[in-house]
């Protein structure tokens, strides 16, 4: 149980091991719900919540669970939390629940969650596991919101439309619009738009990483990272 630096955990979750952009996990909900920024945010928060709860639980029971039944136990833990979150959203965020619909139960199939349970929480103490879950969840949420915002802006010419679904009537004026005349590019809203947007985001991240590593350590040999395929060729 080596000591872990929280700064490093947060950096990994948000950027260098971002579950959506680097690990490429949880693509099903990622690609499907991100046609607006708010949908992305809603699913991102739900995923983060599940991730934090499952990481915490898995970390607490890590010495109790025998290796043979480790994975079934993780699946039970995750599925129970997802169902609880789904029921709660249905009760308290009904409008948003109607929009996200099927994708909330699908959080169960988000490999990022069982991935973190297996790779991190089952080997670390409670606090680092909580931080890891939170950082990974926030990283995933950022990717969802960015992709959703991008597709919404290009496809419909608005940003943060329907924010009132999540934040109440207070937020009904938050919607930014490019104006009535902007008809939008339909492709961005349709499923191919999700793949193209995702590819562009990964490409952008790799370009930034490449620049950063060049600037930071010109003396060292170029790192192996940043060789990820964009997948949209």
């Amino acid at each position: 149980m080596s000591d872990v630096s929280y700064g490093k955990l947060i950096r990994e979750g948000l950027w260098s091991n971002n579950q959506a952009l680097v690990a490429l996990l949880g693509l099903c909900p990622l690609l499907a719900v991100t046609n607006t920024a708010i949908n992305g945010l809603g699913l991102g928060i739900a995923t983060t919540l599940v991730l934090v709860m499952s990481n915490a639980t898995v970390s607490l029971i890590r010495n109790l669970v025998r290796p043979e039944v480790r994975l079934p136990v993780f699946v039970i833990v995750i599925a129970s939390f997802v169902t609880a979150v789904e029921l709660s959203m249905n009760a308290w965020f009904y409008e948003l629940y109607k929009v996200l619909g099927i994708f909330i139960p699908l959080i169960v199939t988000n490999c990022a969650i069982i991935g973190r349970a297996e790779a991190f929480a089952s080997k670390h103490r409670l606090t680092p596991s909580l931080v890891d879950g939170l950082a990974m969840g926030l990283g995933f949420t950022c990717a969802l919101v960015t992709l959703g915002g991008m597709r919404e802006l290009i496809g419909m010419g608005t940003l943060f439309a329907q924010a009132d679904l999540m934040f109440g009537d207070l937020a009904s004026g938050w919607t930014l619009s490019l104006g009535e005349k902007f008809n939008g590019m339909l492709l961005a809203i349709l499923p191919p738009g999700a793949f193209i947007g995702m590819g562009l985001m990964i490409a952008l991240k790799n370009i930034i990483d490449g620049r950063l590593s060049k600037r930071a350590e010109p003396a060292r040999t170029p790192a192996a990272e940043g060789s990820m395929e964009t997948g949209t060729a």
């Binding site: 043979e68 039970i76 009904y94 109607k98």
Partner: protein, 210 residues
């Protein structure tokens, strides 16, 4: 100490399954009432947009009837919400289905006043193309309001089509199939209502005939 690791593992798994089920059961218990209330409120707000609440005095959400007429109403069984005031029929709201949408069935709420005029139409769920066919949604365009107040004689029966087919209803640029299908489904619902007006309100039949 552990002689049978498999049984220990099995017991552990069973314990976790029990705990997980308990968590779900408790959450379900805590939220069930609220969820049912949410669904009821959502339905009620949909219905009251079509049949204003002050025009009726019954509980329209639970005063329902199931009718079977797939050729006119789309679904095998169609739920009809009945609005009454002092026992007299005011309006019927049909949960009609448009069978021939561009990409799958479209679910509608069609409110028909007792005199045969439309209280309004709303799309409950659909899978039409975003940006084209989805202008049937109320929050995307006003098109769905073009049915308000219409009846089988207004416009004339033969004009119950989209403009492209020589009728009175607008189609959308790039999407004719969706509006055409909805216009036909609303028309069919009106035809059904016209034929079965007498039998739709079972409890008030006698009162109405007097």
């Amino acid at each position: 100490m552990i002689k049978h690791p498999v049984s220990v593992a099995g017991i552990l798994l069973a314990l976790f399954a029990t705990a997980g089920t308990a968590l779900v059961a408790v959450t379900n218990d805590l939220t069930a009432e609220r969820i049912a209330e949410n669904e009821r409120q959502a339905l009620l707000s949909n219905l009251s947009a079509l049949v204003p609440i002050e025009e009726i005095d019954n509980d329209i959400v639970s005063d329902t009837l199931i009718v079977r007429q797939p050729d006119l109403l789309g679904g095998e069984e169609t739920l009809v919400y009945l609005g009454r005031k002092q026992g007299k029929p005011v309006a019927a709201v049909f949960t009609s289905v448009v069978p021939n949408g561009y990409s799958g069935p479209i679910k509608l709420l069609v409110a028909v006043h007792n005199d045969g005029t439309l209280g309004g139409v709303r799309v409950i769920s659909h899978k039409e193309t975003p940006g084209l066919g989805d202008k049937i949604e109320e929050n995307r365009s006003d098109w769905i309001h073009s049915f308000d107040g219409k009846s089988l004689s207004n416009p004339k029966f033969s004009r119950w089509k989209v403009k492209k087919d020589g009728g009175d209803f607008d189609q959308f640029t790039g999407a004719t199939i969706t509006p055409r299908a909805i216009v036909a489904a609303v028309k069919n619902t009106l035809i059904y209502f016209d034929k079965h007006r007498e039998t739709l309100f079972p409890n008030t039949r006698k009162a109405e005939q007097k």
